[in-house]
């Protein structure tokens, strides 16, 4: 519980943070600190420099413009969970933020820090994947030849604790299409009893017409795979079908074929079990989304 020695720098702008990151090997960005600091205290992470971006105001804030919800990377889970703007625009994210950790974690932890850490058991990567979020990444043009770039959530996560972020890039904002009236979105998970992290998490965004027929679907599962996994077979089976118990059960069962072979397992839940739970949590998510939650 005692970190190794490190240098502390407080960045006052994104460009200063990137400058510090570029010129100091072994430097790490500190946002809310809820991923980095525990690793440092266990001496699993030993950064030589910690660059505190907590004071950069331009990286905070929630707004909606032209049908897009924009959330600054430094926005805390608590700010998202308290935001009526998020509630209206993307209720699935609002609800998920409220379910992260406990009040202390939500008050400090940030959406950008969370996804940059890319913990496979985290809820936000799955939710942001299913809502097709776009991540704005700022780099140092001179060195990387990439200034600012935008990456979709589906491409952002590369593996456990690994993203497309280069050593000298910083995630600055996340953009999410505002959900339409006829879009139902929900996230369900089996939570680890110790941490509330997702053993298996499932997110759905369904477009449903007046006859309860699904006209478009995006589904993704996380927690059990190295990165969030989309379920194209499930999506295809849902579209054009009435959302009945039977149709939902039949469609969600197809997630098994979309999962691939790289399934995570641990002493709490084996890969075999998690694989079987993917369909169950997807079913829960759809039931909640469509008001069939009595199941």
């Amino acid at each position: 519980m005692f970190a190794t020695e490190f240098e502390y720098k407080k960045a006052s702008s994104i460009s200063e943070a990137i400058q510090l990151l570029s010129s100091n090997e072994g430097a790490k960005i500190l946002a809310g600190g809820h991923s980095l600091l525990p690793m440092m205290k266990l001496r699993l992470a030993r950064p030589t420099m910690v660059i505190d971006i907590g004071g950069i105001e331009e990286m905070r804030g929630i707004s909606v413009e032209n049908g897009t919800l924009r959330i600054g990377a430094l926005t805390t889970h608590a700010q998202i969970a308290d935001s009526h703007v998020v509630q209206e625009a993307a209720g699935i994210l609002w609800e998920t933020a409220y379910g992260i950790g406990d009040p202390q974690v939500r008050n400090r932890g940030t959406i950008g820090g969370n996804v940059s850490h890319a913990d496979p058991a985290s809820d936000l990567p799955t939710v942001l994947t299913v809502v097709d979020a776009k991540f704005t990444i700022q780099g140092q043009g001179g060195i990387t030849r990439r200034g600012s770039r935008t990456v979709s959530a589906g491409d952002f996560f590369v593996g456990p604790f690994t993203t497309v972020l280069a050593e000298n890039e910083v995630l600055t904002a996340i953009e999410i299409p505002v959900l339409a009236e006829n879009q139902k979105a929900e996230y369900a998970k089996m939570a680890h009893p110790a941490t509330s992290f997702a053993v298996v998490g499932a997110g759905v965004v369904l477009t449903v017409d007046n006859n309860n027929v699904c006209t478009a679907a995006r589904v993704a599962v996380g927690g059990l795979t190295p990165t969030p996994t989309r379920g194209p077979s499930v999506e295809a089976a849902l579209v054009g079908k009435e959302l009945t118990d039977e149709n939902i059960a039949a469609a969600t069962a197809l997630i098994d074929g979309d999962l691939g072979s790289d399934i995570l397992g641990d002493i709490f839940a084996s890969a075999e079990y998690r694989r079987a739970m993917a369909a169950i949590e997807l079913k829960h998510a759809i039931f909640h989304a469509t008001g069939l939650a009595h199941h």
């Binding site: 519980m1 005692f2 110790a194 992290f197 709490f268 169950i280």
Partner: protein, 783 residues
């Protein structure tokens, strides 16, 4: 008529300082010149230490000293085990504070660094080079006794620490003549009794005085002083142990740990105060664990459902060394209580204490009694299935009828008082048990799986008569003492030998005294935890603080009152026989105006201007209380759970705790203890469990892998009680700190198995994680 303060649910006076950060814990202690220690712990479960090179660490920035086991030779004696049950061939193996040649569990201390600050100490730890020759290891207690298992101590063949048998009645005949026998193998998985405050020690050796002051996170500072003097060689009167504010124990702060002695050693070497506080990770490895039984148990009965015998063969893991009270847990606190609340002719406990390459095992809330309750109640549910009878009616049929002063059970112990059926009826009536069973049947028809678990228990606590302590190999007494003192202004302090660490006795003991002396409860302060200003006491564990320590407080108060009566007669110029007492006031019979309050008398006793001839000044008394027997709280708990067969998730829908702890000093605190105990026990059933890999590496070494229960996992608990006073102490009180943990584990377990019975599930090892439940359902349906 005024409301009696004894029995009133007043708020805990401890809480304002605790919840506002105003308390001073050991880690808050700052002394001039203080340095900080960090302990290097073995990363291996079993290894020879080939060499240790501390040179780089010694030269690191800020480092004051580095010590290894060799440095403690001739200075520190081995860490003692203080509970050595007789007639069981116990092997009190050598337990060096710092390992010398061999490490025997992951977490065994190997070296200690002392530096100007803790960060420097931690940095220097990484510079110590230890060459280990890794040896094969074993973690499961039953496996450790098999031929060919790695041997952990030379002088403990087959890793057998002891073999203890309690055979009461004729168990062979009971099983030979049984109509029905049910059997089960129960794994009482290893737990970690977490306290919010990690262990911590500050040692301050003053060379000029030859005195050691040790701030220690202990449940029993007087025992730390007693045993600490044996380990360090410092005379007992030159050691002061301070444990005034301790942030929870649950049994984990009862033992005498090596670490506190290592820190004392460092201070003595350096002539400087030294502080060490365990990191949470360190706590997982080096603070004791609990439970760890592999049990083969069986029950004999008649076809009519009369239980005639219970017997067990238990492999009880002791860990790598015998911890302070470790051997007493699976034996005295477990093997003698197999009758529970039932009339059973024969009980036999056949207990092997076993060494393994794991953290030492000691007391964890309930300590032995949850394990005993679990096996009795599990076997009864199995018998009910076997006989096709209702599990509640089966229990009712076997309950011991009401008794007020003594009931002998097969194991040879004598229960104090009991009236078990009314509480069973109260709990059943509260939930409308028959209606619940009907609801269960209706739910099953639509594929929903609700289960009901009902437990009747009796536990043994309020440890205990000192004569018995001696007879069962406990290396100390089990009495308590208290000094109660009136100050000149009429205010009162009590100085007690027990050492509450969250249980609220600053409040409840003040209530006892206020009730005895007729003074306002706010006029009474309770002092505890510092050996320099409290009388000898054996500590707070085994639900003994109120029953034994509370009795000592009450007796001291009664002595004071008697002296006050004599002084009152003198001051009121009345004959002793004419002085009466009511509500804190002495008055002359027939002339209520001629009166003095006890606080006025206290003032007069303190100034001593006008004392009767021969009476000493002052108004105080000390009392020692050694109980004639243990106390035996009892109760009925009931749980309703619902299991989702799709994913194996268990939801606790209702939890009803009916407990009888005799008269309740403070019902709010009783309720709090029940809440906490139930949560602890349910934690074992559903979430908690230590996992080692085959190499003795702790896989559940952090809060992210070891799941502790949280408030949101529980429904509101429904609390019921009856009052059956114990004849064994002057207040009639019985313990309540552990009953929840004793009853709730099996209550939940039986409820879950009850829910899953239609799916063919009869057994799942704890904790009942969703995957295990799901796998059991799949296997049950496949068979």
């Amino acid at each position: 008529m005024t409301t009696r303060i004894f029995g009133s649910g007043i708020r805990r006076r401890e809480d304002p300082r605790l919840i506002t950060g105003g308390a001073t814990y050991t880690d808050d202690v700052q002394l001039p010149g203080m340095v900080h220690a960090a302990i290097l712990r073995s990363p291996h479960a079993h290894a020879k230490i080939s060499s240790i090179d501390t040179s780089a660490a010694s030269g690191a920035p800020g480092v004051v000293a580095v010590y290894t086991g060799a440095d403690t030779d001739g200075v520190l004696n081995p860490i003692p085990c203080a509970w050595l049950p007789p007639d069981c061939d116990i092997k009190a193996v050598d337990h060096p504070a710092i390992a010398k040649d061999v490490v025997r569990y992951q977490g065994d201390a190997v070296a200690v660094v002392v530096a100007e600050d803790r960060y420097q100490a931690e940095d220097a730890l990484e510079l110590i080079k230890v060459d280990y020759e890794i040896l094969p290891s074993v973690v499961n207690p039953e496996a450790a006794m098999q031929a060919g298992a790695p041997q952990i101590h030379e002088d403990a063949p087959n890793n057998q620490a002891f073999h203890w048998v309690a055979d009461g009645g004729d168990s062979d005949a009971a099983f030979a003549n049984a109509d029905v026998i049910v059997k089960e193998t129960i794994i009482q998985q290893r737990l970690i009794p977490h306290a919010m405050e990690p262990r911590s020690a500050v040692a301050n050796w003053t060379v000029a005085m030859g005195e050691l002051t040790l701030w220690s996170t202990s449940q029993n500072p007087h025992i730390v002083r007693f045993l600490g003097s044996l380990v360090t060689g410092i005379p007992e009167h030159k050691i002061r142990v301070i444990a005034t504010e301790v942030g929870g124990g649950f049994g984990s702060k009862l033992p005498m740990y090596a670490d506190e002695m290592i820190i004392s050693f460092c201070s003595m070497q350096l002539n400087r105060p030294v502080k060490w506080t365990a990191t949470r990770s360190e706590g997982f490895l080096a603070t004791i664990h609990g439970r760890d039984h592999v049990e083969h148990v069986e029950l004999a009965a008649t076809r009519e459902g009369k239980i005639t015998g219970i017997r067990s063969v238990v492999y009880a893991g002791m860990g790598a060394y015998l911890s302070t009270a470790g051997p007493g847990v699976p034996t005295i606190l477990h093997g003698l209580i197999y009758s529970g609340p039932y009339d059973i002719g024969a009980t036999k406990a056949d207990i092997y204490g076993v060494f393994s390459n794991t953290t030492p095992v000691d007391t964890c809330r309930g300590a032995g009694r949850p394990e005993a309750t679990f096996l009795i109640e599990r076997l009864i549910d199995l018998l009910a299935v076997e006989l096709g009878t209702d599990p509640v009616e089966l229990r009712r049929k076997n309950l011991i009828p009401k008794f007020e002063d003594g009931h002998d059970v097969a194991s040879g112990i004598t229960y104090d008082s009991g009236d078990y059926e009314p509480l069973l009826n109260m709990v059943l009536g509260h939930v409308d048990y028959q209606a619940l069973r009907q609801e269960q049947a209706r739910m099953r028809e639509r594929g929903a799986y609700m289960g009901i678990g009902v437990t009747c228990y009796v536990e043994i606590c309020g440890l205990g008569p000192s004569q018995v302590a001696g007879a069962v190999g406990f290396g100390g007494g089990l009495w308590e003492s208290a000094i109660v003192r009136f100050h000149p202004t009429g205010k009162v302090n009590a100085y007690i030998g027990t050492s509450p660490h969250g249980q609220g006795e600053e409040t409840t003991f003040a209530q006892i005294i206020a009730d005895e002396l007729g003074v306002d409860v706010d006029d009474v302060g309770v002092i505890h935890g510092d050996t320099s200003n409290t009388p000898m006491g054996w500590g707070t564990y085994g639900s003994r603080t109120s029953t034994v320590g509370g009795a000592a407080v009450a007796l001291a108060a009664r002595k004071i009152k008697e002296k006050a009566r004599l002084l009152a007669a003198h001051l009121l110029e009345a004959a002793e026989a004419d002085v009466e007492y009511e509500d804190g006031k002495f008055f002359v019979k027939g002339s209520p105006d001629r009166s003095k309050t006890i606080q006025e008398i206290a003032t007069m006793a303190n100034v001593a201007w006008n004392m009767p001839e021969g009476m000493e000044p002052g108004l105080e008394a000390s009392a020692f209380y050694d109980p004639p027997n243990f106390v035996y709280p009892f109760g009925t708990h009931l749980a309703v759970v619902e299991v989702d067969p799709d994913n194996g998730h268990i939801e606790v829908k209702r939890y009803v705790a009916g407990d009888d702890c005799g008269p309740q000093i403070n019902p709010m605190i009783v309720e709090g203890q029940v809440h906490g105990g139930v949560v602890h026990g349910v934690g074992q059933a559903l979430w908690e469990g230590v996992v080692y890999d085959e190499n003795g590496q702790l896989l559940t070494g952090s809060m992210t892998d070891y799941a502790l229960p949280r408030a949101h996992m529980f429904p509101d608990m429904e609390i019921l009680s009856t009052v059956t006073p114990s004849p064994h102490n002057p207040l009639g009180v019985k313990g309540i700190g552990e009953t929840g943990a004793i009853a709730s584990t099996v209550t939940i377990y039986n409820a879950v198995i009850d829910a899953l019975r239609p799916l063919g599930v009869t057994h799942i090892d704890m904790p009942l994680t969703p995957e295990k439940v799901w796998q059991a359902i799949r296997q049950g349906q496949g068979s």
